[in-house]
């Protein structure tokens, strides 16, 4: 277990070092997310009531589309270094590769969300601070679910020529429970949770995250086989 975490840490260290040097992932994600949010703001006009009602949904649209960009890049550095399958040459459990890449994607998305949530509050005129604790939990669970399944599919498609096309095709259907749960919980929380439904969405998200994590960890060793 310790070795698994140590190796996952090595993958994470290497990927974060690469990202801090190139800043390609975060820059691309930020510009894309900003574009999505601004387009929605202009499209829906200045109706404050409407904007605050749809803010939760639009926020997650921005996170999912932007996050897909990050996922596509997460195994790209391995391909440039000769191929993700070469990571199999290292001894130990290959799940360390998955865990390291998953942690990298979660951190990258968390960095993006640190900017996206306040931007949404300003552009869509919603109050975040009174619900900060619940929103942080929802953001964490949503990001974890998205990254868990996304990292898996990114590894699965990295060797394919049509990976840019296949990744969203495989990912989006599998993401439906994560997106519905995240949007439901965010919308209810931002509205003050008058009907007490946010808890149900959070439980759905937690259950789906656990199932996804167990299944992906179980199948991952086969994904990197040649």
């Amino acid at each position: 277990m310790t070795e698994l975490v140590r190796r996952a840490g090595a993958i994470l260290w290497k990927d974060l070092l690469t990202e801090t040097r190139t800043r390609q992932g975060l820059s691309a994600m930020l510009s894309f997310a900003a574009l999505i949010l601004f387009l929605f703001t202009f499209a829906f006009g200045a109706d404050a009531a409407l904007l605050s009602r749809i803010a939760g949904g639009l926020l997650w649209v921005a996170i999912v589309f932007t996050g897909t960009l990050a996922l596509g890049r997460s195994f790209q550095s391995e391909e440039l270094a000769g191929g993700a399958r070469l990571l199999r040459l290292y001894p130990g459990d290959v799940r360390a590769i998955y865990l390291g890449k998953l942690a990298g994607n979660v951190l990258l998305l968390a960095a993006l969300e640190l900017l996206l949530f306040p931007a949404t509050a300003v552009l869509f005129q919603v109050e975040l601070l009174p619900h900060a604790a619940t929103l942080t939990l929802v953001a964490f669970l949503g990001t974890l679910g998205f990254s868990t399944i996304g990292t898996f599919f990114a590894a699965l498609t990295v060797h394919l020529r049509a990976r840019e096309l296949l990744l969203p095709l495989l990912l989006f259907p599998a993401l439906v429970p994560v997106v519905i749960g995240s949007v439901g919980a965010t919308v209810e929380t931002l509205a003050g949770d008058p009907f007490g439904r946010a808890g149900g969405w959070i439980r759905l998200l937690t259950a789906y995250d656990v199932i996804l994590f167990v299944v992906c960890m179980w199948i991952f060793p086969v994904v990197l086989e040649e």
Binding site: E3, R6, L17, T18, L80, A81, G82, L89, E225
Partner: protein, 217 residues
């Protein structure tokens, strides 16, 4: 005689194309074998099977006493494989690439160990330069330094002399002699007969996926 690897009736197919058509090979521990043959004769495929990267389609493969593909884990700990395309991260420095390799092998990352491995291949001055700025020869030397980080019993080298000048070739040959001196078995796949046979004590020529010729160097 201790056997480092034993291969019997090894075949490997990619779709409808047979890359290996029945390889029989036994290699004595501590020897240096040059695996020769022109492009497409199955050298790389054979090395990828021996390194545990590829599963054989049929046949028996035993490496360092472990039957593959099931016994791959101990082989990965005791063997090293240098691919022809390399496995280096461009945005990391030479030193950082070695630190990453050491961590993935579960080694304690000591600065001295990394520096010694870099110095052995003459890269101490470029240790803190990103690999993006390395020449082909420097990349090959860094690959050799990665292997030098830990004790290994089997070294698999795929086209180690490609794109190297005379100094680079000498460094590769010196590294091979070093591993041999420490008792490791070395398999060098190359289509450069003169350079590969100079450091080998056995020549094995592959022809269309089978052993066509097997002779002492």
């Amino acid at each position: 005689m201790k056997t480092a690897l034993r291969v019997e009736g090894l075949t490997r197919r990619f779709g409808r194309r047979w890359a290996l058509r029945g390889i029989d090979l036994e290699v004595e521990a501590g020897s240096v074998v040059a695996l020769l043959g022109s492009n497409g004769t199955g050298k790389t495929t054979l090395l990828r099977v021996l390194s545990t990267l590829l599963r054989p389609t049929a046949g028996t493969v035993e490496v360092l006493g472990c039957a593959l593909p099931d016994g791959g884990a101990p082989v990965r700990e005791r063997a090293a494989f240098m691919t022809s395309e390399g496995h280096l991260y461009e945005e990391l420095t030479g030193r950082e690439n070695l630190r990453f390799t050491a961590r993935m092998h579960g080694l304690t990352v000591e600065r001295e160990r990394v520096s010694a491995a870099l110095a052995e291949v003459g890269l101490e001055d470029a240790a803190d330069t990103t690999v993006r700025a390395y020449s082909t020869g420097m990349r090959k030397r860094l690959e050799l330094a990665r292997i030098g980080l830990r004790p290994v019993e089997l070294v698999l080298l795929d086209e180690p002399f490609a794109s190297l000048d005379d100094d680079g070739v000498a460094i590769v040959q010196r590294s091979i002699a070093g591993w041999k001196g420490r008792g490791a078995t070395v398999i060098v796949a190359s289509h450069r007969v003169a350079q590969a046979s100079r450091c080998a004590n056995r020549l094995v020529r592959l022809v269309r996926g089978v052993v066509g010729e097997d002779a002492p160097s």
